[in-house]
Symmetry: D2
Subunit: 242 residues, 4 copies
């Protein structure tokens, strides 16, 4: 099988207004993420909220094996139809890599069944990210710990189902911890949540963060995609006579 | 701590029409389940789809620690507002015991994030239910295997997230298997799915089935209910100066 | 069912030598833990390494539902026969609550199948313990976070199997995180590991630590104990003729 | 990264005695498994119990990324030193694929921490193997269900820790079910157990069985091998002054 066909979806509203997000991510977070994946040998197309079909049309998704998602202030603007298309594709095998404030995005919440709540603070504090599963594919080649000098804090308890894979846990200068790298299986697909990436800090310039995202994309690549192999009335294969 | 305040919710449409469901469960499945719980020392109130607020008003749920759910043909009739109330209560700690065709009920699917699909056959065949986790509280005092002489078949693959607790696996005469007793954590609450209970067969008369349901209710009792303890901006507890 | 019959097992060597351990835990850590459980309404007997049969004879274990374990420097002194008795009892349903440096104790490692390795530092630093699963029985009534002003640091990665239940994660002043409260199922029994408790600090005087240990004992209480219900040649229940 | 360096280890005693095992697997089970992997493009070396160092010397293991294991009657003959080498290698990342009666092999039990008990019957009955996780890499390209016309029965409850990955569940003609394809993480390594393969039947001639084993070998390939990255005293990275 070839490499994953990756789409990076970005809300792309913050970075178009003058201010720190535009300074840190000129051209948009999606382009920085695409560069990060290109460095790792993974080509990716991009899509944004203001594209036709919100960048999430049936055709867009049909040619996507792994969808990387960054959203923050405009979660509600994503249409319920688009969300239904995304979640259906995940159940059929598409990987979803949800970044940072995407913990509150509609597709992520629909797949989790929980509220996604957490505590937070924008204070530019130090985050130290520890690997708790050093043999995990998403941790391959990643230093433990690695340090982001200034980030938004996200704190526990994080209202998600117990992860099927817990890979990273963050330490914050102000006293909190967070399960920053988590994987779940849903249908035939895989979902990975990775915490860093507030729009006014520089996390997506960090080589270790970029490596984790590339690893997560590879991990979320569908292994055996397709429609769910049942969901229908079935005849007996064995005799029913007593 | 007192026992759980249990509400048994039933669609209660099949049993009001003349036919096998009315013969097998006169008075409704909810009354049979209430009897089963009463035998186990667990008092329960009942509610049905045609009650005011569909039996799922805010007051109904506020006095419910564990909600037992049976639905089949009228899942779509349950209002989205009622579903939102149920899932919010589960995240705050209420237990949910979803029975049989409730694998397609709206609250169950909203909490799972998957399609709930499976294969099925109504042929009155034999089901043998094996315990795979004999130390689990839901298996306490339950024979392994126990046999239901005539049931609807449900077959794998069952599109649910990997259960946090897998307790029972069924064997069917016609050649299928099914993960018949599964637990998940969502927010502060617990969800248990238990497979048996087609409306035209007699599963809820079976002493082992009744015992499993009583055990599941006790297991789903909230251990530490309440609103999610964060979800807000947080001040640092440790100094942020470098 | 009555409350659990609890045995608190302690190495009890540190506290018998003059020094900080004797000052902090006069009479031994086991007595302090027994007091903590008594406060929570759980009577407990105690046993120590220098007792006959190392306090782990067949009779000792036969009357134990939950075994609390504290060991540190003398893990190797525990006989392989005693370890085999403990692990066999856990598989038959006995709960095991392993505290602090018991991550290197023989019974814990035999049940985990991993090395138990972690990083550490004795510097009397602050530990902030966050609950990541606020609905879990072991978290009932426990503040999140709670703070231990001076403790030994344990850091990730901690070489244990992915926990079936992850309840607490610690933040340390020096920059580390740790999965401090973890549960696993083994056979018909449950194992809970709880991190705090270096012998020269005062963790077992801390009301929140004491509450967690009492909760863990209740959680580890056998729900359905007994020998494994198979392990033998079995006759077919269904006809084998084609 | 190149493909995995695979070693297939076989007890190789049954097949050297005249009888059905020698008829079904001339040359030994290991050679048949090597052929199965070769068909899937995976070269493999073989080793047997009667080799020098029991085929499990330090050099043998150092050049092994994934170890496939088949043992039955002579588990006890494998030296404790060899077992310690195998489990240490798994914790450092080596994959282990344990087949059939290897549920009682020493390395598997040491990594699980449980008894491995199950029920069984040698009656040449039909086994139907259902996939419960159709998106899992070990299920890629495998039909569900697939049928083995004559096999030994293994029945639940199977005394293993709850699998991190449950992929296959078997139905048996005589009335039993079994979790036939299970994965666990231990240290940096992965363990996969796959049930079929009694020495007097023909399971390893079955194309679907062969495919599962090839998939399991690829899945167990180390993603990030190496010694555990801690296990030592650590200096604080953050200031400890109050």
């Amino acid at each position: 099988m070839d490499g994953p066909r990756v789409t990076i979806w970005n809300e792309f509203r913050h970075e178009r207004e003058p201010g720190p997000a535009a300074d840190v991510y000129p051209g948009g977070i999606h382009r920085h993420l695409a560069d990060a994946l290109a460095e790792a040998g993974i080509p990716a197309r991009t899509a944004v909220l203001d594209d036709p079909d919100q960048g999430l049309g049936a055709d867009d998704l049909a040619r996507t094996d792994v969808l990387v998602w960054w959203g923050h202030r405009h979660h509600a603007a994503v249409s319920d139809e688009a969300v239904a298309r995304v979640t259906a594709r995940v159940l059929d095998g598409m990987g979803l890599v949800a970044l940072h404030s995407s913990h509150f995005s509609k597709p992520f919440l629909a797949l989790m069944g929980t509220s996604g709540r957490l505590s937070w603070r924008v204070a530019g504090e130090r985050e130290r990210i520890w690997c708790v599963d050093p043999g995990h594919p998403v941790a391959a080649g990643v230093e433990t710990p690695f340090v982001i000098e200034a980030e938004e804090m996200y704190g526990e308890p994080f209202d998600v189902p117990p992860p099927d894979d817990l890979v990273f846990v963050s330490w914050f200068q102000g006293g909190e911890v967070f399960r920053s790298g988590c994987g779940w299986r849903r249908g035939r697909g895989r979902v990975f949540y990775f915490r860093p990436g507030h729009e006014t800090f520089r996390a997506y310039h960090h080589p270790q963060v970029r490596r984790v995202i590339a690893n997560a994309v590879r991990w979320a690549m569908p292994a055996a995609p397709g429609p769910w192999p049942c969901g229908r009335r079935s005849d007996p294969a064995e005799p029913l006579a007593r």
